[in-house]
Structure formats: C-alpha cells, structure tokens
Symmetry: C2
Subunit: 363 residues, 2 copies
DNA sequence: CTGTTAGCGCCTTCAC
DNA sequence: GTGAAGGCGCTAACAG
C-alpha cells in the first residue's frame, strides 16, 4: 500500500547507478510532507511514531539516501575537511615516498575526531607546481570543504591569509610563527636533546656524526641546530662531521660512504640522522660494508617510523607523535569551524626518545 | 569603480572564515548578469572580451570561488570519488598498519587519473563494525561522491548491489567474481610461480616452508594454493611446513620460532611468506636467533613494499603493482561514471618476481 | 504533530 | 553577446 515497486535492491539492471530517489519521492510515497520525512531522517522527535514507522519503511524500500550536496547547500556545511600535502620540489626529484609516509600517520590521527562526528576527509597531494598553480589548487579544495589541514609543504603566508579568509586552516607540523592559521607542531628539541644525552652519558660516545635533512625544511634545521647545541654543552665531545641529506634513504647511504672513505681513525662512534629513512639507508650501507651496528658504529634516527622497530638491530630513534599531531590538528580545526572567532592557537607536542638497540643498548 | 573594498586579502580580521562571496556579488559588482559571470568562470566563448576582463577583475578582487556544493547540485556531479578501506576485524586486533600501507600506494595510483580531470578523493577507513553499520557508513559516503573504490575488506555482494544502484563501484584487489562492481585485481599466480621456480631451479632448494596469510583473505588463499601447486610439480621438492599467519610482522616471527624449535635437521631451505610484513618479521627473528639470511635459511615475501629493498639483506619478493591497481581502478571508475551503461569489466594485472638478496642471489 | 514555503548558490536553456 | 528565470534536493522557520 505504501509502495509498490518491490525491493529496490532487486531492480538493479546492470552496474550503472540507477535513478537516485529524493526526499519528495519518499514524501509522496509515504503520504506525508517533505518536512516530516526530513524530521524522521534526522531523528527529530515531534513525529508520531506510527508516521515515523511508515516513513522509515518507505525510506528502506526506496533505498533513499539524502544527497549531500543538497544538504550542504541548505545547511551551509559540507561535513568534509581537506587534508593536503604539498610535495616538495627540491633539487632532487627523489621524494622516495618521503611524503606520504608522513601523511599516512597524520591521516590516521585525523580520522579519530572526524569519525566521531561523522565527517569525511578529502585528501589531495599537490605536486611540484608554481605558487600561482598551488594557490588555485588550494582554492579549489577550499570550495569543497569546511576547513583544511595543511600537513606538508610550505604555503606563503599571504596565500594562507587569503585561504583562511574562506575556510579555517590549521597547519600540521607547520611553522608556529604563522599568524594566519592555527598550528600544531612537534617539539623537535626535547627528543633530540634526550637522544644526544643518551648517546653521550649512557654510551660514553665522544664523536658524533650528523646526517641532516634539507635546509629548506624548518624541522630539519631545528633538529640539526638542537643537536649541535646540545653537543656543544659537553666537554670532550665533538661533532665528527655532518652530511646534508634530503630526508631520503639514499642520503643515509651517501653519508656512510663518505664516512667510510675517510681514514679509519676518524670514524665516529655514532651516526645520528635527521629522520628514520636516512638512518635506515645508513644502516643498510654500513651492513653492506661489513661494519657492525651498533658494535662498530651506532645509528639513531628521528620519527619512529613503524618499520624502524623491525630492523636488525631495531632502530633507536626520537618519536614524533605524528598520529597525535593529526588528531590534535583536526580537533582544533573542528573547534574553529564551530566557532570561527576563537583566538589563534599553537600547540606544541613533545617528542620522546625511543631506545632500542641500534644505539648499543641491549635487546 | 568596479569595486570599492580594497584588496580582500587585507580585510581579514582574525582567522575565522569570513563571508564567502557569491556569483551574485560578482555579477552586481561587475554590472552584468550571473549568467555572464558563470560563462567567464567556465571559459565559455560567447562573451565580449572587455566584459570578460571586467568580470575577471572583480572575481580577483573579491576572491570569488564558486561553491562546490551549489555546483554539484546544479550539475549533478560532485567531482569527488570515494576511496574506502574496511579494516579487518579478524581474531587478532593486530592490524599493525597492515591496512593503510596498502591503501597508501593505491591512493598514489588513484591520484593520477583524478588529478588530470581535477577531481578529488574522499578517503575513509571503516573499522570493525557489524555489517549493518558498515552498510550505513558506505551509504553515507555514497551520497558524497560520484563513484567509489573499495580497496580493502569484503562487502557482501548483496550490499554491493544496493550500493552500485546509487553510484558506480569498483573493487581494488577484490574478488573477480563479484557481479555488482567492476574489479581490478592482481594475478597472484604469475609471481608466485616465478618465485617458487626461482628458489628451486636457481638455488636448488628442496625444502620450502610457507607462512600464509589469514584464510579469510582471498589473496592469501590464492597465493598459498598456487605455492603448493607449483611445489607439487617438482620431484624431490617438498613443503617443509606451513604456518597460518595474519599478514602482520609478528606472524613471521612466530613462524620462525616454531621452525627453530624443531630439530635442526628439519629446518627448511627457505621461508616463503604471503606478504612482506611477515617476511620482515621472519628475517628479524632469524637475525635475533643468529641464523643467517640467506646463508642458513633464505626468505622471500610478497607485495614489494617500499622498505623491503632497504633491509639487510634486501628482500626478494613478488611485486604486486599496487599503484597501478589504484590507477586502473580509478580509470575504470571514471569511465563508468561517464557512461554507466558500460559492460561489466574485470582487469587482471600481472605480479612479477623481484629478485634481490634474501633468496641467496648475489648483491 | 505536520504541512507550506522560502531560500541555499549555481547552471542552463530560452529569449532578446 | 547578454539577461531572465526555472530548477537541483534539502532544511528551517513559520503556520496551522
């Protein structure tokens, strides 16, 4: 009586998307107004339960699902946030997954607060383009979301300002000085200091080599600076050398080749790397050369990538809470979407030393 | 004369999203109709170039960006596709990143055809829920996209049918038998056969141990089956044992413990694993136990994860073209969105042997 | 409790 | 070349 087409699931002809039915179809079929249907769809009370029941049946029978574009339009809210990564256009094109490995963890974090409210993530990677293109791209994304998370790459402050004028933006691991966006970033200092202290005080090392990330990256610069400063605080400990890498595994390999090419006497006690990828590359090269880790030379990284723990020996590193970064950034973004007048926020998350075996500690 | 508010970038008060301006604002400010603005926004010709110029200036000054919800509504196209992963709810909660590592590569592939047309990806991970929840979730996503890619996890065929009635669906690495969706999947056979042949013919191995993935996973089953069948084709070669793992690194470790607990005489020549994660776990445990790879026991995996190449020794494995899977799936989906009447499609991509050193080949 | 009625912002014929 | 006007599907007052 309420409907007469039989189960909609049955009438699928091929694979094509068949005609989606609308609120009106449901209303007509159930003999009520669209407002009522809308009410039951959203679980509002003021509806007689028999009416609700009837509407629900029709919805089920027709397989009705509200169109999100229409909802966004009427509600002025899309329930989608954008997560964007801007892939570096450094000298090397050797990005070597560097990017997404990071984004992936962040994404996991972002999902948490989002799934609680039932929103979704629109993810996009912007590859090496000029700034004008990049801006157009970001603009286009901004039209599809209620807020954006920029998780990698640098956007000029002026562009950020214009973007932020349209939708709230929060930077993940961005520069804390940015005035046009909220930002959540890792405290590279705490972990790096702890690592250096550990190497020196626990293992009595006196000659540390550093493999740095690219100088364009603020994180790389900060890690390196803190490393050197901390080292300088110790008597009798010195920087055995430094290699400027690009955060890719190959950089670690190259650094090791350079080290092994030098006289044996000058070899460092340990090689500390600006991220885990380079540490992995270093360990691999050391292994190939027959140098034992950590017996002959210790190695340490930064990030605490999932696979570091599976290496032989397991990698000692500094943990950067990437997932938490994503989670906090998303929570902050959601807050601001709810109330755009909130004051500017910057949140700093601690990094911590993760001692495993590549530094010389027992397994 | 055309506008009088100054550069919009200047009038950003705080961080909040300020009032977004509409097509009407632009039309009014430029002294033309909305139709004309729409024409210039979309680069249609029939517009006098002086008019176009004026409109463009106003757009720039006002920072106008068309609202995508309104566009979707009018055009009945969202320019977004959904990529969903359904995280396994196996006995172990030990998902151990298993999921996203895969999704990530697929995502990279998906991005290619998508960025060409300027569309975006809505990504969502559905965690262990019952089927009714899962279906509601998928339905909700379906309302936000023009088509969906299901890249992990199994959806009952009946649900798929109902989903497909709303939007086109293509399965990435799904079961090729599914009638309600297009599917792109890897040919687990070719690579597995090549691997077994290599181990036996090149290395003269006669005792192979297999670490399988969970039997619920079609891929795991197929790999195992092909492995055993191929083995059976050789005289004097036998299955030295089998361990049923769950595609996680710990499974590989457990398998090795079991192997090492047995009498030394019974040790296999090689341990072939159903995926790289388990192979990595196995290598790690072997290393811990002082068993040399590949000298004492060789190891091989499946997938060709990025990090396999960085291990010591580098992992011999079967390459599954995950990125290509994503790319093809997305291309097929786009085709079907463009023309829903297309015939059902199934695409099978070859897997290939990647010989590195863990099988005993020279570096 | 339930129905009526404006829009939301844009696209797209159809006239001029 | 350009403007006017009718929807797209849904929500949210405002009336009953």
């Amino acid at each position: 009586m309420f409907f007469n087409r039989g189960d909609t699931a049955e009438r699928v002809p091929g694979l094509g998307s068949s005609s989606a039915c609308t609120l009106y179809d449901v209303a007509r079929e159930a003999g009520v107004s669209t407002a009522t249907v809308s009410r039951v769809v959203h679980g509002h009370d003021r509806v007689r339960s028999s009416t609700r029941q009837r509407v629900l049946e029709v919805i089920e029978a027709l397989g009705y699902v509200p169109d999100s574009a229409a909802q966004s339009m009427a509600r002025k809210r899309k329930e989608v946030i954008g997560l964007v990564a801007i892939e570096g256009r450094g000298p090397d094109t050797d990005i070597e997954q560097e990017g997404l490995l990071f984004i992936e963890e962040v994404l996991r974090g972002v999902e948490a607060p989002l799934s609680q409210v039932g929103w979704s993530v629109l993810i996009s990677v912007l590859r090496g383009a000029d700034w004008a293109d990049a801006y157009r791209f970001l603009q286009k994304i901004s039209a599809k979301v209620d807020g954006m998370l920029i998780a990698e790459g640098i956007v000029p402050s002026s562009q950020l300002a214009r973007l932020a004028a349209r939708v709230p933006v929060t930077l993940v691991a961005g520069s804390p000085g940015e005035p046009n966006a909220d930002v959540v970033h890792a405290d590279n200092r705490s972990g790096t200091e702890a690592l250096v202290r550990h190497m020196i005080e626990q293992h009595g090392m006196t000659r540390l080599f550093y493999v740095a990330g690219p100088p364009e990256a603020p994180d790389a610069r900060e890690r390196r600076r803190v490393f050197e400063e901390t080292l300088a605080g110790y008597q009798g400990v010195r920087l055995a050398g430094c290699f400027e890498g690009r955060f890719a595994a190959i950089s670690g390999q190259l650094a090791v080749r350079e080290i092994l090419a030098a006289p044996r006497r000058e070899r460092p006690d340990a090689i500390v790397c600006g991220n885990d990828q380079m540490a992995i590359g270093a360990m691999r090269e050391l292994h190939t050369a027959g140098v034992r880790v950590p017996a002959d030379i210790a190695v340490a990284g930064f990030d605490d990538m999932y696979l570091g723990a599976l290496l032989a020996p397991p990698l000692t590193t500094v943990r950067q809470p990437m997932r938490l970064l994503g989670e906090r950034a998303c929570a902050i973004l959601l807050d601001r979407i709810a109330d755009p007048t909130l004051p500017h926020r910057v949140e700093r998350l601690a990094t911590t030393l993760v001692v495993r075996e590549s530094c010389g500690c027992p397994g």
